[in-house]
Symmetry: C2
Subunit: 428 residues, 2 copies
């Protein structure tokens, strides 16, 4: 089974940092096996015409809560702590596994339709999320978000079971990490237990860090240091760490992130919507910290469209720094692809289009009026392309969407079931 | 000829500030003649099924340069003054009327496809833009942008001719105003000539004001006052004024805008991209200044998608003010509709869906996965809807787009001609 994408423009996201025009991509089973001239010696079972299309790596969403889409547009225009305590957490307490299953599938439809092929999730009822990932054909890091309470040991047990049930499953498209929610919801003792578990499982950590000013101020009051320094001192950064947000980080924090190869996941839209502020993305990128991009949950965004994050990352940092070359169009695309792969500890297999890497890629319809004229493809991808311009999605060599039709999921049923479960949930 | 939009959800943008679910809209010729229950006594010539759709006023883009789309993605990641002086103006000097015609039509296709029904344009070869507006069926304020030079008197003459040729034309869908480019490109004498011409023609002014920090600093050096105070003292604000940008305005400036009923046009994406900064939108709205929304030209954006501006206005002001209730979802929608109508001095006829107003409205396909579940329609419109969710566009009672098919323009030809003219222009 060899698939040929013929006569296509390609942004591979490699050291050349350039578009290759009119090339050919061969995919054998789950991998890219050749890029370049037509190979007469290879028998091809299927040809996709690449005319007027561009191939780029599938987008990687490095921090989200896919089950939360049931709460999209449910509570808006509230600050983070009020939004969590008064609106989100009381409803989340009523969620069932089935709710999370349908909410997660709704999120996966949306992610596929806007070009995301892999994501790192933090939520609960993660077995149900795993089932969704398996079914959808997507690639995912699953993490069971652990807010410390009377059931904390149970949550650590959940994580271990999640690891045993799902790590390496779905043809290797699923991995599991350990996710203490945040230093402001987990004591040092519980964070240490989480670290120990991650060591035992030989996996990484996914955690919220320094999202709001209040969180940082509270940390200084309680521990005399920033959240970053606090978890650094606990040894958390000795493990591979996806650090969601890193908005309120100072120069000392940034040095610690750099020293320990921590992977900050920047959520520009969520940080604006919850009035959290602006992460110092440009400063971190200049230090060669591979900041990745993420949507956060769709209830603080309110969508899971990574092209909007790319676009915003390339725009907002310019105004924050009053510097029009801050976070270039190309850097924003790297954040959403290769940097995301690094965050997910998966850059040996995904994040760029290269021979022997997994075939996780998207084809964009470049024939839309808003993509004319064709002066600069990289600019067009960062500043003009819409999520709805994604035509085809391939993950692990499988065609997951073609001509915008999702092949793996029953979209109409998912919309219906998500609506039903959302309404039930609110009135429960 | 009466058109009925049946069983539709409606956000009229009126004092109720609410969505009306499952209503009916009757359109007779160019006007809305009834909203509410089915009228058995009215003979209907055409019915549009409103199921799963939402009607809202057509979006109004209060500051753009539609001919500039030929330069979309041509020069990016540069600060405003360098971008203008070194990249844009040298190429613009080579533009022909035919270039502007095709660039403008390309912009109109894009605007229609993303739900914009009216725009205020500032450019040159404005006869060609007028021809495009007439053909496309859109509504527009045309202004001939005047940068002072040796030909300034010629430009004033152009404006007068533009007024005589086009004001009130295209079934009244075109009006003409006077557009001195900015205080930093026009002397006080030339600004005064422009004011006199606007008085003579009994029309308004369209001008760039306080876009960058540099511009304000230069104004203080040259005139000892801000650009706002400078033109206030010249009497410019005695006329209806659309003031594009107003990014670097202080409290005193805001008082002057308020005193003189000036209409600031906020261009959030352009201001980010050119690193101009953040306009104090929330502060101006709280003073009841009807700030409108705009895209600026697509070469500093890089598109003309008003839903992205709505979305950004509702998001970015929250983070700037560290206040999650700053610029609500509903306020952002008002900015893009009724406030835009006020800016264009057209709110007696457009900007809301009400009986006796012109039928300028759009129907949004609310059945997309990223718009589920249906908790809050206003939030969905501001935070989740994409430009590509616009299904139908009606302007002046005419169906301009239906099922995303543009009825008035030859989209394929326009893409081809815009590409050809863009390439010719660069190599000229």
């Amino acid at each position: 089974m060899t698939l040929l994408i013929k006569d296509i423009d390609l942004l591979p996201i490699n050291d050349l940092k350039e578009v290759i025009y009119g090339t050919n991509i061969y995919i054998k089973e789950d991998k890219i096996c050749h890029i370049g001239e037509i190979r007469e010696d290879v028998e091809v079972s299927r040809i996709i015409d690449g005319k007027n299309k561009l191939a780029m790596p599938g987008l990687i969403n490095s921090h989200t809560h896919v089950g939360m889409s049931l709460l999209r547009n449910y509570a808006d225009d509230l600050p983070l702590h009020e939004w969590l305590n008064d609106a989100i957490w009381p409803v989340e307490a009523k969620l069932t596994g089935e709710d999370v299953y349908w909410g997660s599938l709704l999120s996966m439809v949306e992610m596929i339709q806007s070009g995301t092929t892999a994501f790192c999730d933090m939520y609960f009822f993660m077995d149900e999320v795993g089932e969704g990932v398996e079914k959808s054909g997507m690639r995912s890091i699953l993490t069971r978000g652990m807010v410390e309470d009377d059931d904390s040991d149970e949550k650590l047990k959940d994580t271990k079971e999640l690891y045993n049930n799902w790590n390496g499953k779905a043809d290797g498209r699923i991995k599991v990490m350990v996710a203490p929610h945040a230093p402001y919801t987990c004591s040092p003792e519980f964070l240490t237990k989480s670290i120990d578990l991650a060591k035992e499982l030989d996996t990484g950590i996914h955690i919220h860090l320094s999202e709001t000013k209040k969180e940082v101020e509270d940390s200084f009051k309680l521990y005399g240091k920033s959240p970053i320094k606090h978890v650094y001192d606990l040894g958390l950064f000795d493990l591979h760490t996806i650090a969601a947000h890193c908005v309120h980080v100072d120069d000392e924090d940034i040095e610690l992130l750099l020293e320990k190869n921590v992977y900050p996941a920047n959520n520009p839209r969520s940080n604006l919507k919850l009035a959290s502020g602006f992460a110092p993305v440009d400063k971190m990128l200049k230090k060669r910290i591979p900041v990745s991009l993420a949507t956060d949950g769709s209830s603080s965004n309110n969508n899971l469209n990574m092209f909007e994050e790319i676009n915003l990352a390339a725009l907002v940092n310019k105004a924050v720094n009053l510097d029009a070359i801050s976070v270039s169009a190309y850097e924003a695309l790297e954040m959403a692809s290769i940097n995301g792969a690094k965050a997910l500890d998966w850059s040996d297999e995904i994040g760029s289009i290269e021979v022997d890497k997994k075939a996780d890629l998207i084809l964009i319809d470049m024939d839309k009026p808003h993509l004319y004229p064709k002066h600069n493809t990289v600019s067009a991808l960062s500043y003009s392309v819409q999520g709805s311009d994604v035509d085809t999605v391939i993950i692990d060599g499988n065609i997951i969407m073609e001509n915008r039709e999702v092949k793996t999921l029953d979209v109409e049923k998912i919309k219906f079931m998500a609506e039903k479960h959302a309404k039930d949930l609110i009135s429960r």
